[in-house]
Symmetry: C2
């Protein structure tokens, strides 16, 4: 059997991620590879750190990109911050809260679940009750923007409750970073991870991560070694540190980091507030058009993510066939439902570079024609 | 502070990796991103699996690329195959054997060390003794090609001993894959991981991995959950399986996988034996030239890796200054010594696309001029 080069088609990516990639990011990606200890590359990593601090709105010195996808960023938070036997309050309102529970348990921690319906945000009242009932809890973990449902939770309120009970917070900002306000310092969040392939419109494979001084202090006071060598952030810190000699930890994914640098330069040039506004504008255009088609949203408008629109599949419509037609005829990808919403909903992403009127227009017209 | 786009220089990469990247691989890298569940992408992953089977010379159905660098590939082997309390014989003849020990201990296993001098291969006699002294050992772990010293160990002989004592093998083939013979099936190796950025001349960030049926059986018989969610290969298997519905695990690093596919197509077209020969030829050219300059090798010719040449820094020469001149004047990167060889040796890589006469000529002339 002969296998030749792979030439992918040009798709319009309006699923839950990867999102449409900025052309400039793809250009940056294919620039010449340099050594991961090259002084010029180390300079780029220092810039990348500053750009990530801007995106996260934080001054945290520990702000890096994990050399692996968002799920590894999630795991980096749990393996570093949870010690065996520790109690963690985990809020679940979709798929990713459940993955957090898995993480806690695999670290030997005890997960106390706060349950919310799919499509609802995390209820701070329930978090408060869990904190009162579990005075020995050390951490509160929750998803800021649930990619499986499109619901936005009040990260500021949950973090405030956690602090009142002397708990750290682990926050999944995979889908929120760059798409909706995420103010790590103002809200005093402790460990926040994201993904490169959502509202940053970079290629998938990297996980931006920031730890507060409180989080770093907890890591430094650990009684046991972090169970993962690859994700042990006390080792990684020496690698990202701009000061003095860079210690070798692993070989950085050089070209992917070029791409993330470029995506963040684009974000910085646009400005966070303009990016948030662009996501809101695109969402409104999409919403108005979908409502005209009689399509209903899963999440109430009050806490709906502009960048991830979960909508119910109209009665009598064949889920798979519609998505296949969109893909094959229009080169347009929208997302299937996940978990409890599998087969019941579509997820239409307007993330990063995808949040543009031309994408909304294509999506609305293609859906209208396909649903006829 | 204003940060603009990053434009790296065109370096010639002759360190321990990343190696010079094939231009075709950089082109493939920047092709349009498609969704990670796109049927065309799934088709590409199936091809990638076959290409990896060729590179590893195996029929193992479990042959994939971990979505993270080689150190994560190493960890994937240990967290899946080692259960708490299990004894693992770890051969150490450089930096990476030591990292294996770290991995065993972080999995709750007990590492029995087989010590060999830096620059020497693993001595099968010592492995045999360790196996006899530890009849309860379950696994033998060793590095096929030590990147820190450039020594090649006899993987076939060590694996045979392991089998005689009913042990599985975990083999670090980060630097060997594509550069020297590595016959996974013929040698009956059980868990073998590599890196994309060495002799495959792909961008860094992925770790090719293959598990034998025996390794898969051990994973299936585990008493405890794998401590890493991200690296739990029983979950990842559903993701890479070509049969039926692909289950979502994490978002694949789509563009990096395009690049790996292309690098493997190039390897397949060249043919493994030709690639091995090209590495040997380039090594001989480099060796003859270095010997004329009076530079000595760390590793004896009998088990010297053609693709990774560790040489002693000549008496009275300033390590850092020479490497800096090579980089700044010639855009040429060679590697520093690591661990016990830091400050004492250089590591000159002839990996993948770097194993060419023009690279050897540049390196020899630039060294000659700089050392004058």
């Amino acid at each position: 059997m002969t296998i030749g080069s792979f030439y992918p088609p040009q798709r319009t990516l309006m699923g839950p991620g990867p999102s449409d990639i900025y052309p400039q990011v793809l250009q940056a990606l294919s620039r010449p590879t340099v050594g991961h200890l090259d002084p010029l590359f180390i300079g780029m990593m220092d810039e990348l750190k500053q750009l990530l601090q801007y995106a996260f709105q934080t001054q945290n010195p520990f702000t890096i990109a994990v050399s692996a996808p968002g799920s590894a960023g999630m795991e980096a938070c749990f393996v570093n911050l949870v010690e065996p036997g520790e109690k963690v309050i985990v809020c679940r309102n979709g798929v990713f809260g459940d993955r957090m529970r898995e993480n806690v348990e695999r670290c030997g921690g005890e997960a106390v679940m706060v349950e919310n319906a799919w499509g609802e945000p995390v209820d701070p009242q329930l978090v408060a009750q869990a904190l009162e009932a579990n005075p020995d809890a050390k951490i509160v973990a929750f998803v800021h923007a649930e990619t499986s449902t499109g619901a936005l939770s009040d990260a500021e309120a949950i973090a405030k409750l956690a602090r009142q009970h002397d708990c750290l917070t682990i926050v999944d900002a995979v889908t929120s970073l760059g798409g909706v306000p995420l103010l790590v310092d103002e809200w005093q969040l402790d460990a926040v991870y994201s993904g490169s392939q959502k509202c940053l419109s970079c290629v998938p494979g990297l996980s931006p991560l920031t730890f507060s001084e409180r989080a770093v202090a907890k890591i430094q006071q650990r009684q046991s070694k972090v169970q993962s060598w690859f994700l042990d952030q006390s080792l990684v810190l020496g690698y990202w540190s701009g000061e003095g000699k860079r210690s070798y930890h692993h070989t950085a994914p050089v070209n992917s980091l070029y791409a993330l640098h470029e995506a963040l330069v684009l974000l910085k040039n646009e400005g966070l507030e303009s990016a948030w506004q662009r996501h809101r504008d695109a969402h409104r255009e999409l919403r108005d058009g979908l409502e005209k088609l009689g399509i209903e949203f899963v999440v109430d408008e009050a806490y709906r993510l502009p960048q991830l629109n979960a909508v119910y599949i109209p009665e009598g419509v064949d889920d798979t066939q519609v998505r296949q037609t969109l893909l094959e005829r229009y080169n347009l990808e929208i997302g299937a439902g996940l978990g409890a919403l599998a087969g019941k909903a579509w997820r239409i992403g307007l993330m990063g570079y995808a949040a543009r009127s031309e994408n909304v227009a294509l999506c609305l017209k293609a859906l209208e024609s396909t649903l006829k």
